[in-house]
């Protein structure tokens, strides 16, 4: 616990949100300065929403899901179909996507949350892959199979065309609200329950708490974030790729969260930014091997710095101000074996 936690939680939250909003909203201006481009900012914000939601599950309850692509992808397909066949307005499309995601998360939660740890990771991986397979075979008529789902009309929000920066600010607003909700969840009694599940689910069960319900709700909240992100992805590039349902999408969100720092909310978003930046900007310099480099970075982080970038930052701060930051004693030994990156 750092000394700063003595300040009231609400005041700290307000400051965090303000800084976060400023950074996010100004992204189209600062991102091009470091080699990015405007459209990349939109993608980063969308994945950041996905990452925050993923952290509510992995970071708080400690459940590693390898199946969040199911929510991201199903929601994307729902949005695509709604935009194509019902209305070009994004609101009904997003509403429908969220409903579908909640329903799906309920079903998958009932099946997969029976077990924890390794079992849970495998089960989510397998059942998410079922949706990918089903989209390519049974629902081929709806999803367009391997070709993906293309839309002819541009989506709009209450008459405003969703193009360029409009999409960005729409997504950014949702990201800020989503981050705020996540912060509130973390400080709420419900968030405490989720984190108690991570530290000792059995003890929690013995105190008379119905753990399954908390897990289920946490899982569903996390899924809704993934669904919103999937929906926004389709609004951003009016196209649904089958890759959205593939396990590699689940893998990407896992990599982002872990690289950034699980359980910190900010970390996974940082990881999302890093990964997309790497994928789109750094790739230009190192070519096709960017995935290999990313895989190696991921392994190094898992092996030497399980807390991700956020742990790295903490160690750096501990090293720069010896004795200043609390827990510097523990940090100094840790920073000694910090890998050179």
């Amino acid at each position: 616990m750092s000394a700063r936690s003595k300040a009231p939680a609400s005041a700290r939250n307000g400051l965090t949100i303000a800084v976060f909003a400023a950074v996010v909203l100004s992204m189209p201006f600062w991102l091009p300065l470091i080699g990015g481009y405007e459209a990349l900012a939109t993608k980063i914000v969308i994945w950041a929403i996905f990452a925050v939601g993923f952290d509510i599950l992995l970071g708080f309850t400690g459940y590693l899901s390898f199946g969040h692509a199911a929510f991201f992808g199903t929601s994307a397909y729902t949005t695509g179909l709604m935009l194509k066949h019902v209305s070009a307005d994004v609101l009904p499309a997003m509403g429908a996507s969220i409903l579908v995601t909640v329903f799906l998360a309920f079903l998958l939660g009932v099946i997969t949350l029976r077990r924890a740890g390794i079992y849970f990771a495998i089960l989510t991986l397998a059942f998410a892959q079922m949706f990918h397979v089903a989209a390519l075979s049974i629902f081929q008529g709806w999803t367009g199979g391997d070709n993906g789902l293309t839309m002819s009309t541009r989506p709009e929000l209450l008459g405003i065309p969703m193009t360029g920066l409009n999409v960005f600010y729409f997504a950014a607003a949702i990201a800020i609200v989503g981050f705020y909700i996540a912060l509130r969840i973390r400080n709420s009694p419900f968030g405490l329950m989720l984190r108690s599940i991570k530290s000792n689910a059995m003890r929690l069960e013995y105190t008379g708490v119905y753990v399954r319900a908390y897990k289920q709700i946490g899982f569903m909240i996390s899924a809704v974030y993934a669904g919103v992100a999937g929906s926004l992805m389709v609004i951003y590039e009016p196209y649904v790729a089958t890759k959205f349902l593939h396990w590699s999408t689940s893998g990407e969100i896992v990599i982002m969260s872990v690289i950034g720092g699980v359980g910190t909310l900010i970390g996974p978003m940082l990881g999302a930014t890093f990964m997309l930046y790497f994928q789109n900007v750094v790739q230009a310099f190192i070519g096709e091997q960017w995935k290999l480099v990313l895989g190696i970075i991921f392994m190094l982080v898992v092996i030497f710095m399980p807390g991700g970038f956020m742990e790295g930052l903490r160690r750096l701060r501990g090293a720069v101000t010896p004795g200043g930051a609390s827990g510097a004693g523990a940090d100094s030994t840790a920073s000694a074996r910090q890998p050179a990156e």
């Binding site: 400690g62 740890g117 390794i118 079992y119 089903a134 893998g251 872990v258 290999l292 092996i303």
Partner: protein
């Protein structure tokens, strides 16, 4: 359905189950002893298939059959000593993450060297062509053929399974490993150095993946993504069978293989049948068919 088609589907199911069984056996063996879920197990299969293509091309197929499993055994032991053992005391999530990262790295390295596409795997002359089954089996009517290589795969899988069970059942090493799967603490108290033996178990799992790669490669594919594509159904096999249960994995592999073979005519059902079976089994028996209470709670 005629007796011929039923027979052929049984054979196809056996062959499909054989590949799953080989991969799942390694997975569940490593899981049962070391408590580690190896997300890189598919990558080991893929690596074995690539090695087999290269060695078979340069030194002949028989050399590949001998060398590749040995190579994979060495790779497995190196992996356990160099990486996995540092993760025994870390959370399970970390073990999944590090093996997942490893799978990505191996896949990307192979993609870098050999390209992303499927490379051809030529069968040896003695394994090519089809077997005329009606000449050997009296109750078949008319003309029944089946690819020879697939029969060989089934035979090799059966041999591997028997060898593994014999090793675990009838040797001192097997006795210690089986005891270690049940009560690793107690074994340590008794002064048995189980970590050394568990390293061998990891190598053994990799060796089985090596056998699967040599004989399965010509049937599945030899592409960087093949490992991960096989890993998902193999995980299902392990989970349906009950994690850490070798017999369970065999039953589940056979079950899924048969399910795939007998739904071949309904393509859309075939795609998701294995997941449907998994849902049904897990709703009824959350620990899997032969899963024991207390394993991985």
């Amino acid at each position: 359905m005629t007796i011929n088609s039923v027979f052929l589907q049984l054979l196809t199911g056996l062959q499909l189950g054989a590949i799953y069984a080989l991969i799942a056996l390694g997975l569940t063996l490593i899981f049962g002893t070391l408590g580690v879920v190896n997300f890189a197990h598919g990558a080991l299969y893929m690596l074995a298939a690539y090695c087999a293509v290269i060695i078979a091309g340069k030194m002949g197929f028989l050399a590949a059959i001998v060398l590749v499993p040995i190579m994979l055994f060495v790779v497995g032991i190196a992996l356990e000593r160099g990486l996995i053992r540092y993760f025994y005391n870390r959370p399970h999530v970390d073990q999944i993450l590090v093996t997942f990262g490893l799978a990505i790295v191996v896949e990307e390295v192979v993609k870098w060297i050999f390209g992303a596409n499927n490379i051809p795997f030529k069968l040896p002359a003695w394994g090519n062509g089809v077997a005329f089954l009606h000449e050997y089996i009296p109750f078949l009517e008319g003309f029944v053929v089946f690819p020879k290589w697939r029969l060989i795969l089934v035979a090799v899988s059966l041999l591997t399974v028997f060898a593994l069970f014999a090793l675990l059942q009838f040797t001192r090493f097997g006795l210690i490993v089986r005891a270690g799967m049940r009560e690793p603490e107690m074994l340590r108290f008794l002064g048995v150095d189980i970590t050394k033996r568990f390293a061998i178990v990891f190598g053994l799992g990799a060796l089985i993946a090596g056998i699967a790669g040599v004989f399965g490669g010509p049937i599945t594919q030899v592409s960087p993504g093949v490992g991960m594509n096989l890993l998902v159904p193999s995980f299902l096999v392990v989970v349906i069978g009950g994690m850490g249960s070798l017999a369970g994995a065999l039953i589940a592999a056979l079950m899924l293989g048969m399910a795939l073979a007998f739904t071949a005519e309904i393509a859309s059902l075939q795609q998701i049948i294995i997941y449907l079976i998994a849902v049904v089994v897990l709703l009824g028996r959350p620990r899997g068919l032969l899963g024991k209470k207390g394993v991985m709670e």
